[in-house]
Symmetry: C2
Subunit: 174 residues, 2 copies
């Protein structure tokens, strides 16, 4: 079984990469985490028609054996794509799954913050600027940065995006 962890971007089907598209089309099983089911399905729907799809219930919190259960379910397939909304590098369940089986290849996706920056035509970093990415509120006195990217919930900023599953805010500091 070859397992591919594939980032599919923020939910806009046009923000899929060519590589994500190829791997999804070549897969004989596509695993879609249910936590972001509607958005993720929207991102990949044109490409999974007629394909075997397995919904994997997320979030998995304490009882990680769910990942072992998933591995048992998928091991008889040849090419399995595990879909991650956004990019696997940031807060993805992919690397939890990777503790239970080998990942053959990881494919990066468009992050929510890159998407939000583009929508608002607001850069996250210019020149020598530093950026802090955090899921939780932070004490700005502890972090000397130019831009704060807040991955969940909200900070007070006009640059804020959501899609019903996640919210992301970009705050450029004075």
């Amino acid at each position: 079984m070859n397992l591919y962890g594939v980032g599919v971007g923020p939910g806009d089907p046009e923000l899929l990469t060519l590589k994500a598209l190829r791997l999804i089309r070549d897969a004989d099983l596509v695993v879609i985490p249910t936590s972001s089911k509607r958005i993720t399905f929207n991102a990949v729907l044109p490409h999974v028609q007629g394909k075997e799809v397995l919904e994997f219930p997320l979030p998995v919190r304490k009882d990680r054996s769910a990942y072992q259960g998933l591995v048992d379910q998928i091991r008889s397939y040849n090419n399995v794509v595990y879909v991650t909304l956004g990019d696997p590098a940031f807060y993805s369940s992919l690397y939890r799954l990777g503790q239970f089986t080998e990942i053959r290849e990881v494919v990066p996706g468009i992050t929510s913050f890159s998407w939000c920056s583009a929508l608002h035509k607001t850069p996250i970093a210019l020149g020598k600027e530093k950026v802090l990415i955090s899921p939780d509120p932070v004490n700005l006195n502890e972090h000397r940065v130019n831009t704060l990217v807040f991955m969940k919930g909200e900070v007070e900023s006009p640059v804020r995006c959501g899609n019903g599953y996640f919210t992301v805010s970009i705050k450029r500091l004075a």
Copy 2:
């Protein structure tokens, strides 16, 4: 003139998004900054064949009038794509150009750090982790983060990627 700022990812032509591909194909002029010429051409080459391409000399440092000169050169076209290696949100010349003319739409791209994370199958952030992105070396005592992404030059880390134009390092702290 409709100007599109389009991120084309780290240089792998398969890491182009479907949207970037569509806009490049529909453009009557594609502007390619020369600073990253070889890598950027590699990313978009299959799609600019037979298309009018303008090379724009970068870096532009103090004399920003080069951007006004570019605007004068492109204003007679209908649909112009200004290509940015990686993602326009991070350290891109696109927003410098945007000081001289209106950008109709920005299209996010795969960042160098998402690409590097995927190549090394190493997450940048899990759970509640915080990330600092910086172009310069930082004093870690000033930044309480879990992961450092260093956009230029190098930090001591096994997770490091380069393509001849840029280097990116990801350092997960203990």
